[in-house]
């Protein structure tokens, strides 16, 4: 009998408390799906022309003029503890006795875990890593953003140099995990 009385008291207390302030809850969710992003671009568009001219005086080296510098821009997102690299390769072949050198400066803009520059590399048909350790980062887009790239010809063997009109080579930049 006492148990029933207790239950009744509890029920009345429960009812009374809810009669004063009752609350009800419902929810909805927000989901954000972030995907792996790897975007790379070279700015400004167009070719780089390197012109070789004869030495000004006998005994001096050839003169070379590169038409413009390029800028390497990238956007990258990664999973935690993941990194990406940018590599470069050259399609086609250079004249005999000539090497093509690429100078990669550190990024002058951007945010996040920007990659480390390799400094200088010689381009060949194989991929060469030029930026390593890219995390979630972006350099900014356009000229004057990201890593400055400068091309330079190096004469390896003057003995085999021969005159030629012009030669086009394709340089490909790839961002990979």
């Amino acid at each position: 009998m006492r148990i029933y009385k207790c239950i009744w008291v509890l029920l009345i207390a429960f009812w009374a408390s809810n009669a004063v302030t009752a609350q009800c809850v419902d929810d909805s969710y927000v989901r954000l799906k972030l995907k792996n992003i790897s975007l790379v671009d070279i700015e400004p568009k167009g070719d780089v022309e390197i012109i070789i001219k004869p030495p000004l005086k006998a005994g001096m080296d050839f003169q070379q003029y590169a038409s413009s510098s390029k800028w390497l821009n990238y956007s990258s997102s990664v999973r935690r503890y993941e990194n990406k690299n940018i590599s470069v390769s050259m399609g086609g072949s250079l004249p005999k006795g000539v090497l093509l050198k690429l100078k990669i400066a550190a990024s002058i803009s951007g945010e996040g875990q920007l990659g480390m520059s390799a400094g200088e590399v010689y381009l060949g048909n194989r991929n060469v890593q030029i930026i390593t350790g890219i995390g979630g980062a972006y350099t900014g887009a356009g000229v004057g953003k990201g890593h400055k790239l400068d091309y330079e010809l190096e004469f390896e063997d003057y003995g085999v140099l021969s005159q030629m009109q012009s030669k086009a080579i394709l340089i490909t930049y790839t961002i990979t995990n």
């Binding site: 009752a22 995907k35 956007s75 972006y138």
Partner: protein, 162 residues
């Protein structure tokens, strides 16, 4: 027999606890991809907004509660499943909804974006039942700098009558 009666009574009480009940419908899924980046070198848009009415709620009167008032307040908070501290979620009310009680019902507050945090905060208030109250979400802080994964949080709407 007495036990049965008690059980029935208990069920009856538990169902009539709420004079006002809130029901939330809808969810917001955001898929961010490379298409959201205009040019290589750029970040995502840092701010995303859902469409108006992506989520809506209704406040339902419980006729059993003649002894209670019809005034109510809705509080909001979020409960993270996986979230990042740089992500800032806000919500606003984009419509008043409708009501069967016509001019005897009203809603106010929540007309501009309010931050949804882990703590309960006032969102809007009203009187009597309302249907199809439309909501719009805004998410700020989306960036390439956040680790790639699926983030999810539950936005909880708590209605309190007074």
């Amino acid at each position: 027999m007495r036990v049965r009666i008690l059980i029935i009574l208990l069920c009856g009480f538990s169902c009539s606890v709420y004079a006002q009940k809130i029901e939330v419908k809808g969810k917001w899924k955001i898929n961010v991809s490379a298409k959201d980046i205009l040019n290589a070198g750029n970040d995502y848009n840092t701010c995303y907004e859902s469409s108006e009415g992506e989520v809506e709620f209704r406040v339902k009167n419980n006729w059993n509660h003649e002894y209670n008032g019809y005034s109510w307040i809705v509080y909001i908070n979020k409960q993270d499943e996986i979230w990042h501290p740089n992500l800032k979620l806000s919500v606003r009310r984009t419509s008043d909804g409708s009501s069967a009680y016509a001019c005897y019902s009203y809603i106010y507050g929540g007309g501009y974006y309010r931050n949804v945090s882990d703590r309960h905060s006032f969102f809007c208030a009203g009187y009597r039942g309302r249907d199809n109250v439309e909501l719009q979400y805004k998410l700020e802080g989306v960036s390439l700098l956040l680790p790639v994964r699926n983030y999810k949080t539950y936005v909880t709407y708590t209605i309190v009558e007074y």
